[in-house]
Amino acid sequence: MEFPKESSIEETTALEYLFSRLSGLRKLKRNKASIVGLCIILVFIVLALFPNVIAPYHPFTTFRSRQSPSSEHWFGTDTLGRDVFSNVIWGVRTTFYIGTACVLIELVIGLLMGGLAGYLGGWIDDLLMRITDIILALPTLIVLILAVSMFKVRSINIIILVMGLIGWPYMARVIRSQVLSIKTTPYVEAAKAMGATTQRIIFRHILPNIILPIVILITIHFAGYVLWEASLTFLGLGDPNSFSWGVMIMAGKNVLRSCPWISTYPGLFLFIMLIALQILGDGLRDIFDIRV
């Protein structure tokens, strides 16, 4: 019995599994929308990492104010004379910072609570379900307005913390149902029958199998947080001296008639990002046909 040379049995990383599913599936080619979404997101990531390379001026350098879009200032300048295009590019970084931070908070709490409730069940499950029912019943934006208004100085991190704390039940609920469905599958039961410890079952069987649904959820919730933050800053409850698009759109509100470009272009970037995240999420959902 000759042992196949090219590979011995070793750990399969999530990536290998993803490629085997993708290579085996011709769906990827057909799903152009998700590829477009992915490219836009990648472009945004590059913008977020190196804003100074693309942005012609430093966002705070002031020029003659209220200039309409011209060759020097592609998106014109705002009421304080700052170049709108550079601000929008720097805004990409803030938006990504907000989205990723919120999603991380939501993921940590959601995984913990959802995982415990799903795997252990019993009173933890009931408790979590009660909390999520209450938070889902509340009008989220109203609660956000109240929670954010609690703080005298409203920095970006405070807003992120608040949004993460209000958003986690959505993630916890989905993780709980995913864990519940995986826990009862025959391959987990077979592992239990073999005497596998709970810790091994969680890390070798349950966690790897909920990565994909979580990735899809992250794309959707990322868009949700970005939208929440923009709405908050638009209402004047955001962090005024951050480069968030919501601040720029709000600033352009009063001078809409005279210089509409101030709020239109930041809004356009926000629009493109939300669309890209959405089609990426839908595409992934279609390729791996996971109902989240």
Partner: protein, 324 residues
């Protein structure tokens, strides 16, 4: 009969939920640093300090939090919602003035979004892979990417500023009341169009996609093939057999949607200077109007809980599998 005691049981469950949320909101508001008195008078000048102290006592702001909550609660039961600190008007009066504009806005947006998304969602599912379906799906994707405030500003730009068809903000032009009743109502409608569209656009996109996917699931079920095998017309198969099953999940989502509609109203009202509760809520958060804030939130939470109850009852009525 059993439906009645199901509703009764659900009403019983609302009471604790209602108290718990009001306590949550109360602590949230009062934990916020700074209070209305300080905002009004500022503590910069020394002699202001004793006036501020005196004012705090009259408003009972110096008592421990839980006492303030019970004072507030006892007053609410007596129907006295207290006074607004700034313009010393009765809170109940302020809210009742602004109640109707918001309800008008929300009801229209709700009806608008549910009806349109059902029609488009069902059509897109039935005529799958047609241009009609692709058109609707792409607009739904675009709709879900458009924040309501940015959409509102674009609409104002196009329809009010460039084309000048519709008013930029406000609820009615001042002189309209005295013109003919037709003129008055035409003016009211003209004012309503942009706010309602921008408030409901996001939800129309969300619901259309939801209804389309539930409808597609249902159309793939076996009982649809059985219905066709009985010789029923395709229209009966779709609108009798498929539609009722497809709308079930939508009913629950509409319940939750009421809450987010209230949030959207806050934004749209402040943008269109619409004299509603949402705008009052946003302004009173800036100005720390505790009494106004508490009453507004009480009403909003009550509306959300009642709407959830209604949707659950409607769901239990529609789906016989639910045991109540």
């Amino acid at each position: 009969m059993r439906l009645r005691n199901y509703i009764f049981r659900r009403l019983l469950m609302i009471v604790p939920l209602f108290f718990f949320t009001t306590i949550l909101v109360f602590t949230l508001i009062h934990l916020a640093p700074g209070d209305p008195v300080m905002i009004m008078f500022g503590t910069s000048t020394p002699y202001m300090k004793d006036i501020v102290k005196e004012m705090r006592e009259t408003y009972g702001l110096d008592k421990p939090l839980y006492i303030q909550y019970f004072i507030w609660l006892s007053r609410v039961f007596r129907g006295d919602l207290g006074y607004s600190y700034l313009n010393t008007r009765k809170v109940i009066q302020m809210i009742s003035e602004r109640g109707w504009p918001t309800i008008e806005l929300m009801v229209l947006a709700l009806v608008f979004s549910v009806v349109i998304s059902t029609v488009f969602g069902v059509f897109a599912a039935v005529k799958r892979h047609s241009i009609f379906d692709n058109l609707i799906t792409t607009t739904a994707v675009l709709g879900r990417g458009m924040p309501n405030f940015w959409l509102a500003m674009n609409l104002i730009l196009i329809f009010s500023i460039y084309l000048g068809w519709l008013p930029v903000f406000g609820r009615f032009t001042v002189g309209a009341v005295f013109s003919s009743p037709f003129g008055y109502w035409l003016d009211r409608i003209k004012h309503l169009i942009l706010p309602v569209i921008s408030l409901s656009a996001f939800q129309i996109a969300y619901f259309t996609r939801l209804i389309r996917s539930t409808m597609l699931d249902v159309l793939g079920q076996e009982y649809i093939i059985t219905a066709r095998a009985k010789g029923l017309k395709e229209s009966v198969v779709i609108y009798k057999h498929a539609l009722k099953n497809a709308l079930l999940p939508v009913v629950t989502v509409v319940g939750i949607y009421i809450g987010s509609l209230m949030g959207g109203a806050a934004i749209i009202e402040s943008l269109f200077a619409w004299p509603g509760m949402g705008r009052l809520l946003v302004n009173s958060t800036y100005r720390r109007e505790y009494q106004v804030l508490m009453s507004l939130n009480m009403i909003i939470i009550f509306m959300v809980l009642v709407s959830n109850l209604i949707t659950d009852v409607v769901y239990a009525y529609l789906d016989p599998r639910i045991k109540y």
